[in-house]
């Protein structure tokens, strides 16, 4: 009988260690916070932490959409460009149709482009890497045409006052990020669509055999990802009061880094918004901490790159132990 017992369940770890293994990013985040707190007296102040959260929000909102798409086993490289387009439209159209209609058009542009990405991926069978790489280039071109290669300035400065709404140390931008993250975590864990996202990324054949409509499902997630990128773009335009054609350049990479750092699997099927929040905050804390210590920019990049590889290495080692 013991022959069967020994293979009934893999691994003998307690649920606590397993929980830690699956959420290593929070341990990592706690470590970085401890390190910077001892290194700089300014780091652990309410004000600075509030700032970190605001700085994290933009990549953070992009990362929420990216997480959905990545759990599905896909990737979206066009989010930075969509962000730029939405922010350009939100500012550029204000003089013609008013603030809120302009914002709405910006939002719609993101959702529509996301829908287009998703439809192309689902119907053509092309890999999303290729489709959205095309999107990245094409949409950025569109932004340059629309802005005429110059930054657009906001006319009505009341527009830039919304981000100045604060709840204690927490800005509106940060609140929106947190609210969206919590909402989509709930979607992932509690709705049929969310759980099916895992099913598809994990074993697409099994999902197909079970009758899940994979195409529609992927289109929805790409649309959400585009819409979220537009929200990030609109918030950015409010904060800066301008829309630069180069806004959000290489942000898709930082976004992917944040998501992967959190522990969401590039191959799909595994991940969560908690992990993504952890990854986003870790990146933001690192960047903020290094700036407080007046680290030169290139050193900052080197440290961040090293951290990424390290974090993934830890993840690999832990998941090997778990298996």
């Amino acid at each position: 009988m013991s022959a069967t017992n020994s293979i009934t369940k893999a691994g003998g770890h307690s649920s606590v260690t397993r929980l830690l293994m699956r959420n290593h990013i929070w341990v990592f985040l706690a470590l970085t916070i401890v390190v910077f707190s001892t290194a700089s007296p300014y780091f652990l102040t309410i004000n600075n932490l509030g700032n970190v959260l605001t700085q994290a929000a933009f990549i953070g909102i992009l990362a929420i959409g990216m997480t959905l798409v990545m759990i599905d086993g896909e990737i979206d490289l066009s989010v930075g460009a969509i962000l730029a387009l939405a922010s350009a439209l939100a500012i550029g159209l204000q003089d013609h149709i008013g603030i809120w209609p302009a914002v709405f058009v910006g939002f719609l542009s993101g959702a529509a482009l996301g829908f287009l990405n998703g439809t192309l991926v689902a119907l053509s069978g092309m890999h999303s890497f290729i489709v959205t790489l095309g999107g990245l280039i094409g949409i950025r071109g569109l932004v340059f045409i629309y802005t005429g290669e110059d930054a657009l300035m906001v006319g009505d400065f009341s527009y830039t006052e919304y981000p100045e709404i604060y709840l204690g140390p927490i800005s509106l931008t940060a609140m929106i990020f947190i609210a969206l993250a919590l909402f989509f975590q709930w979607i992932l864990s509690s709705t049929r669509h969310g759980r099916e996202t895992y099913a598809i990324g994990d074993n697409i054949d099994a999902a197909h055999d079970a009758g899940i409509n994979i195409k529609r499902h992927k289109i929805i997630n790409f649309t959400l990802c585009g819409a979220l990128a537009a929200i990030a773009g609109i918030l950015l335009s409010m904060r800066l009061g301008t829309a630069e054609p180069n806004a959000g350049k290489v942000w898709e990479l930082w976004t992917i880094i944040a998501v992967v750092l959190g522990g969401t699997r590039l191959q799909g099927g595994y991940g969560s918004m908690w992990m993504t929040i952890g990854g986003v905050l870790t990146l933001a804390v690192l960047r903020n901490g290094l700036r407080l210590l007046n680290t030169p920019n290139y050193v900052e990049l080197m440290v961040m790159g090293t951290v990424l590889v390290l974090a993934l290495l830890i993840d690999k080692l832990l998941s090997r132990q778990e298996a």
């Binding site: 013991s2 022959a3 293979i7 893999a10 054949d205 099994a206 055999d209």
Partner: protein
């Protein structure tokens, strides 16, 4: 006799270059177990995929509960009460047991919010009905293969299935697990469920089933009552000739020792394993699934790292190799799971066969297609592989034919030692004896051969010497007249009966 619950008539399905099903008629009665047998590529899985809504037939009619029906997609099949348990398990390892049971049909409210309470409660009820030891919240990835299969079978309770199809369900189960499965199947039978059972194992078919339908090249050869026939007759229907019922043992003279292993140990897997094998010798490893046999040979091949132990290769002591070094030394390992190991599914059979040995098929850097083609033809014939040509992607081959390409790939390297881990799992009876003959031929050419098998007649039939293994230890070595089924069973069960040492 009860009316059939499901009747297929004139079902035809073609793929480019093959008629997989040719006017097939088949029926299932409530409460019966109906075996579907046939050679690899005969069309068994294809027929069942038609039933499960995965393929649409080109022609033919399906009558279900007295009504002609169309089965458009897998969900429709399941909602009608037709459930397919796949040849390769169809589960999401990251999701919970409950989520997997109801995959694609989760209970939600109007807004799409999951009703987790109902999901868990219903899943628990389904698991209870089957007497499962795991819970609805367990992650499927942490369960053993047998338990994962139970998760799939639990769908029969969850969807109150009327017809359940098992496609080679016992391929990776231990004997105890197989008995459990049979109990479950008999339970379904008592509930009046009609069961289709696909297998290459004759003993299972005669133990379990009421009727047998034989497919050959996509055509029905006939349906017979199990009680009124025997294995020889069924085999003849399957392959169109009588199969010689004896094993061909290699008639070779043993040469130099090729490999000697001393005290090989890997914590939690196996302890103190020592043995040797000579040129021309076939060494059998017998044991139940999970005894540690695969782990031992994977360690020899460098896939796993041993904690302790020494290795002698052709008389000289060497460090434990990496897989690359093992290949260069002249070892070949045909692993037991074809799915994860060995095949590039999008490539054709020919390219898969020559993949590990490209250097010997290239003139400078340009591939010698003619030479590749010759190898392909040689093994296609030797193993009677059913494929439309060298470039048919192996992903579209039947399960057993994929397995044969894994074999071909390692055989054509011309190794000094070849290790075959369950070489005939999922392979039809006709090709099985072709593989046994091939093993003998290899030994006669002077290769050292190690064969791992859970099938006692096979291991006794092809080997010159047999090692019995249980719970990670060698528990007996048998040669000549001592090689009997009783001795092997004794050695293994004697060990298992002992209270654990630690």
């Amino acid at each position: 006799m009860a009316d059939p619950i499901l009747t297929l008539s004139g079902i035809t399905k073609t793929f480019p270059g093959v008629v997989a099903l040719d006017k097939v008629s088949f029926d299932v009665r409530p409460g019966e177990v109906h075996a579907l047998v046939g050679e690899n590529g005969a069309g068994k899985s294809t027929l069942m995929k038609v039933l499960a809504g995965l393929y649409h037939p080109d022609a033919g009619e399906i009558i279900y509960q007295g009504q002609p029906v169309q089965i458009d997609n897998p969900l429709a099949a399941r909602e009608k009460g037709i459930l397919l348990i796949h040849q390769e398990l169809s589960l999401s390892p990251e999701l919970s047991v409950a989520e997997n049971i109801y995959l694609g049909a989760w209970p939600t409210n109007a807004l799409g919010v999951l009703n987790k309470r109902k999901l868990r409660r219903d899943a628990q009820a389904a698991l209870d009905a089957m007497g499962c030891s795991f819970g609805p919240d367990d992650r499927v990835g942490t369960l053993s293969v047998a338990m994962q299969q139970m998760v799939e079978i639990a769908r029969s309770q969850a969807f109150s299935a009327n017809v359940v199809i098992f496609d080679e369900p016992t391929a990776s189960l231990t004997d105890t697990e197989k008995d459990q499965l049979f109990t479950t199947i008999r339970g379904l039978q008592r509930q009046g469920v009609g069961i289709v059972y696909i297998s290459h194992k004759m003993d299972e078919i005669f133990e379990l089933t009421d009727r047998i339908t034989v497919l050959r090249d996509g055509q029905v050869q006939g349906t017979v009552t199990t009680r009124e026939t025997d294995a020889t007759a069924v085999t003849r229907m399957m392959i169109g000739r009588t199969l010689e019922a004896y094993f061909h043992k290699a008639d070779s003279t043993f040469g130099e020792e090729v490999l000697r292993v001393d005290g090989l140990s890997l914590q939690g897997q196996f302890e103190d394993v020592s043995f040797s094998v000579r040129q021309g010798e076939v060494l059998g490893f017998y044991g139940l699934v999970g005894a540690g046999r695969s782990e031992v040979v994977e360690t020899l091949f460098g896939v796993r790292k041993a904690d302790r132990g020494t290795l002698q290769w052709q008389g000289a002591e060497i460090p434990l190799p990496t897989p690359r070094q093992a290949i260069d030394l002249g070892m070949a390992l045909v692993p037991e799971s074809r799915k994860e190991q060995g095949l590039v599914l999008m490539m054709g059979g020919m390219e898969n066969t020559t993949l590990p040995h490209l250097a010997s098929y290239a003139r400078s850097t340009v591939m010698d297609r003619g030479k590749e083609r010759a190898t392909f033809d040689e093994y296609k014939d030797a193993l009677s592989i059913k494929t439309t040509g060298p470039d048919q992607p192996v992903s579209t081959l039947s399960g057993g034919n994929q397995q044969k390409f894994v074999l071909a790939k390692w055989l054509c390297a011309g190794p000094k030692l070849i290790i075959l881990d369950e070489p005939t799992r999922g392979i039809d009876v006709g090709s099985k004896s072709a593989i046994h003959t091939l093993i003998a031929k290899l030994a006669e050419q002077g290769l050292a051969v190690i064969v791992i098998s859970s099938e006692m007649p096979e291991v006794l039939g092809v080997s010159h010497r047999v090692l019995a293994m249980a719970e990670g230890r060698l528990v007996g070595e048998f040669e000549g007249d001592a090689m009997t089924e009783e001795n092997l069973i004794d050695a293994v069960s004697h060990h298992l009966a002992r209270p654990a040492a630690e």
